[in-house]
Symmetry: C2
Subunit: 352 residues, 2 copies
């Protein structure tokens, strides 16, 4: 067995990848969405020297914060430090991160007639900073810790592209869906086609699995999700899942779970709005589930946090295929000691 084969075997035998395949594990694996974020002093030390977007675009720094977070938390997977939106730039959108306001797109797709402004990425190498970061992280990550890549789902990216930033009610996005299904189809197809290549390149560079984020799809009725979103997310998953397992994450509406299931993937990421037992009943026992502690639990006192983590583990009831996570990302003003405590609690209580 050469060293590359040995490495692959080691990733595949990790606690995390076993859970992805619904094999027995010694204890429940855990990672935390946005684990390398601003709540961590080690991150802030790096971040203080640069801007957020420069950090994303500097492979050595992105690698450093990714690796540090995995190490200080003791989590079972690392996730590439990156953002959902930089893929929009080479597609023709003018993206800026404004201090205190978050991402802003200066030339959003305001009308159906503007959809053609969104182009395919002529040369995926313009996102080399992402693939370089993956290589650097993989080279330095412990052999039993898998690295996750990720991307936004077509709907979430389309919403950003149309609304120009975050939105309260997704009025423009839905308006385009409803009033110009042709333009909507063109937009979503363009995203899917580019996302498939983007995720495959992340996997090629060294990721063991990828998560797709439909962070905003919860604003949709089941009927709209089925008609305007499901076919595109399904195409995305189909284009990637043979290369590496897909963690299919959606937040904001548990009633979409049966339809989300149809989009495919090996693992389903669910938020805290539903009991994990019910989620498993809906999704079926043949998939793994990631979740689903309410992130606000991290503001609770440790004994309460422990109780709430236990409650999630109890709902999972020791099933194979449970990956512990928050139902959404950790927040900047959270106490890193509570995040570390959560990792320990899950490893302790999840022990078989």
């Amino acid at each position: 067995m050469n060293s590359e084969m040995a490495e692959t075997a080691s990733y595949q035998n990790s606690r995390f990848m076993k859970a992805v395949r619904r094999e027995p594990v010694d204890t429940t694996p855990i990672w935390i969405m946005r684990q390398a974020g601003r709540y961590l002093p080690e991150y802030m030390a790096v971040r203080s020297k640069t801007t957020f977007i420069e950090l994303c675009k500097t492979p050595a720094l992105a690698a450093e914060v990714t690796l540090t977070a995995q190490r200080v938390l003791g989590v079972d997977a690392a996730i590439l430090f990156a953002d959902l939106l930089p893929i929009l730039e080479p597609m023709g959108l003018n993206l800026e991160y404004l201090k205190g306001e978050g991402p802003v797109i200066h030339n959003p797709i305001e009308e159906a007639s503007q959809v053609d402004r969104l182009t395919d990425i002529a040369d995926m190498n313009c996102l080399d900073f992402v693939f370089e970061a993956v290589k650097l992280i993989r080279a330095d990550l412990p052999a039993d810790i898998p690295l996750l890549g990720f991307a936004g789902c077509p709907f979430t990216l389309a919403s950003y592209a149309i609304e120009g930033g975050s939105s309260k009610n997704y009025r423009r996005t839905k308006q385009m869906m409803y009033n110009d299904p042709g333009a909507w189809h063109a937009l979503m197809t363009r995203f899917v086609d580019n996302l498939v290549i983007y995720l495959r390149r992340q996997i090629e560079a060294g990721c063991q699995a990828v998560q797709i984020f439909d962070s905003w799809a919860g604003c949709l009725s089941p009927e709209d999700y089925q008609k305007y979103v499901l076919p595109y997310t399904a195409k995305l998953v189909a284009g990637v899942q043979d290369d590496a397992p897909v963690i299919n994450f959606l937040t904001g509406n548990p009633a979409l779970l049966p339809l989300q299931r149809q989009t495919g993937g090996q693992v389903f990421g669910v938020d805290w709005r539903i009991n994990l037992k019910d989620a498993w009943e809906i999704l079926g026992e043949d998939v793994a589930i990631q979740g689903n502690l309410d992130p606000i639990s991290l503001y609770a006192d440790i004994p309460v946090l422990k109780e709430k983590a236990k409650s999630v583990l109890d709902a999972a009831a020791g099933r194979n295929g449970h990956i512990f996570n928050l139902g959404h990302g950790v927040m900047p003003d959270m106490n890193p000691d509570h995040v570390k405590a959560l990792v320990e609690i899950v490893h302790e209580l999840g022990s078989r």
Copy 2:
């Protein structure tokens, strides 16, 4: 039969009240949450002469905008023009409506130790402007149109009281729930006790039914809802439902429906995140349902709006006990002609 008895008979035989009792109707009744709002030029004409809060506190004006909206839309119920929050003032919170920012509470309950600052309403007559408006509206409303009163649910009011305004993640609210259940219990109990009296007074003044709004409870996990919210909402409903039917409205999380059902009420208001057929299966055939068109559908072109309204009616499948509504309130920049068209569409397509 004296005239008061005749009036009562007439309200009770209205299309809307028949639907509340799940009796057959000639066509599906409809009203629109926030139907007397800023999208309506007739409202803006009144509103331009005063502030929002003065409008709420001036019975003649509140009555005028309530009556006008019912008349110009041709909806099957009127709802008292008022706001969720004025009840907070006599309980000790300093409420202000800031232009463009919405409601702000200048002295929110920031710590569990401050819960005692919230007092019972010594004399409910300080909210006489509400009860006076009810009397004026009832006197002028057509005999076959019921008048709805309303109030916020304890959780939604507690969130406002603690966060001081709207919130993205309800951090402080949940933190108090988690870390000081005693203070939380005291806070929720105070709200319930005062809300029961407040709603009974609205009914006494002339409302035929009341809606309770848990607009923000969708941020909760089923476990948290059950533990920290359900007992209080149940107590509220129990205290009112013998006086008049209760429409129990919650938005943001369809997975809470089975628990919301346990809080009681004759009608359940559901948002667009779930198919109405599924909602009925969860809630049981022995309740009426109000909903559930995605409000953003009103931005769609009329043929699409018609299709989407039909889809809601198809999901209800002519069951007794369907009251058509949006899944949330109508918005200021919506086209009043689309709202009027929706009312006509529902009456036409819902016809038995």
